[in-house]
Symmetry: C2
Subunit: 278 residues, 2 copies
């Protein structure tokens, strides 16, 4: 496994590769969710390239960039075990040199849900992902279904800008109690950790009602809200039942719906989602 | 020469090409300036791909999109004579389908000169050029020095976003009296056409003063302004002596300077430039 820190070195390594390349971009502090992306990539492409980069531009000034968990040595050991070919691990200075002034943006779907309380977040994501795609030049890139809106935004960027790769979504990996794997779970106290599966419970509740014939989106939202509000550690940011492509809130769930949540558990902001009719 | 109108067909043609590809993006109504780009490309790359697309998003609502000159049949005949391999000629609907919502932007240098009276112009340019680069996947792309700011903006986009191609600048082609070739010259009445070389005369005057030791940028601007103001058909939009990379106005021309002008000749807006110390 090669570990490269500069863009020039990454492009040089890419130039040596024959055959298909799968790409797994990460912010590090890897968990089973990331490893599922790598394993999925390995079944479909000859060489897997992973990146580890905690992208400062997708964090707001009040957000957790400084305290976002980091453990590059452990990350590299995990990636090596998964037979990753190349790991790209640039510095912020390498990605955003003095005078950097370009951006890639998607309007509309970036303004809802995660985008609403986090202005600039998705522009940070789309810009860094566009850069990484140009640097790594993968045939396929793998993203977790857990960040459903991010996935929709990246698919839209790739489609609108005619980028030459395929985006592959990989199902969310969960703890035995249903909590979605996330690097931020490490911030939870033992008590908060016990409360955290309330997101998954709420999603399962909505699915249950929907499978029993409940099509009214407001009712589904209300059922989830009531469940979460019973949990003292939980503070709801949003509960959404939306069109999976446009992310506009639905009145009725006739065909597909993305049900998604953002909930603070103590000081930690968690998100999760499930697709109805998907 | 193949002529393709869809993105899928263009990508399919590109996939068949072995060897280096040069790309000449145009808005059509071709003149010797465009043909110089094609000829330059042919000396450096095995296959030349040209595009003809009058990009609506780079025109403001008060600008000349509707009246921008068009003659695709003549354009194709000219490109065929120059041994162009593929011409990409998409519709606006093909490039911007219903729901299109992505953009590529460069800040800073896009806000000055051409960008000031034309808000959104450069975002239209960078977005369409990023799309075209992804569709055509050239090794090199050729742009005229006449649109000096556009060239600087595209270079910045390519560098910031780590795009995998080289940008090549080709010198401006001029009429015998110095008027820079431009598709918009066709809008000039015979009298305006006689007045139009005042842009080039002003640039030559600045160069002359600079070569005789004048380093004061304000004096150079004043000399050009005085000359142009003597021409009754001419109305100055800007006269600039700026840093070639940042496009910030200079006080002194110590090393390099981009001298550039935008002047209305009757109803037609013309631009031109020259590099001092380049």
């Amino acid at each position: 496994m090669k570990v490269v820190e500069t863009i020039a070195a990454m492009k040089a390594e890419r130039g040596k590769l024959a055959g298909s390349v799968g790409f797994v971009p990460t912010m590090g502090y890897l968990h089973e969710g990331h490893l599922a992306l790598v394993r999925h990539a390995r079944t479909e492409t000859l060489t897997v390239i992973a990146s580890i980069f905690v992208n400062p531009t997708q964090f707001g000034p009040q957000e957790d960039f400084a305290t976002y968990p980091r453990d590059p040595e452990r990350d590299l050991a995990l990636l090596e075990k998964e037979n990753v070919g190349v790991v790209f691990m640039p510095s912020a200075q390498e990605m955003y040199p003095q005078g950097f002034s370009s951006s890639v943006a998607v309007e509309g779907i970036t303004e809802r849900l995660e985008g609403k309380p986090r202005p600039g977040h998705f522009m940070g994501v789309t810009t860094v992902v566009a850069k990484l795609f140009n640097i790594v030049q993968p045939d396929r890139a793998y993203f977790g279904q857990k960040d459903a809106q991010q996935l929709a935004v990246i698919r839209k960027m790739v489609s609108d800008l005619n980028m030459n790769l395929e985006i592959v979504a990989v199902p969310t990996v969960r703890e035995p109690d249903g909590l979605a794997m996330s690097s931020r779970n490490t911030h939870l106290s033992p008590e908060e950790r016990k409360a955290a599966p309330v997101l998954w419970k709420a999603l399962c509740l909505a699915r249950g009602h929907w499978e029993n014939g409940e099509k009214d989106a407001a009712r589904l939202r209300q059922e989830m809200t009531t469940l979460i509000e019973r949990e003292p550690f939980a503070q709801i940011e949003y509960v959404s039942v939306a069109d999976p492509e446009t992310l506009e809130e639905l009145e009725k769930v006739d065909s597909q719906a993305l049900v998604s949540l953002a909930v603070r558990i103590g000081g930690t902001r968690l998100i999760d989602n499930t697709m109805l009719g998907g």
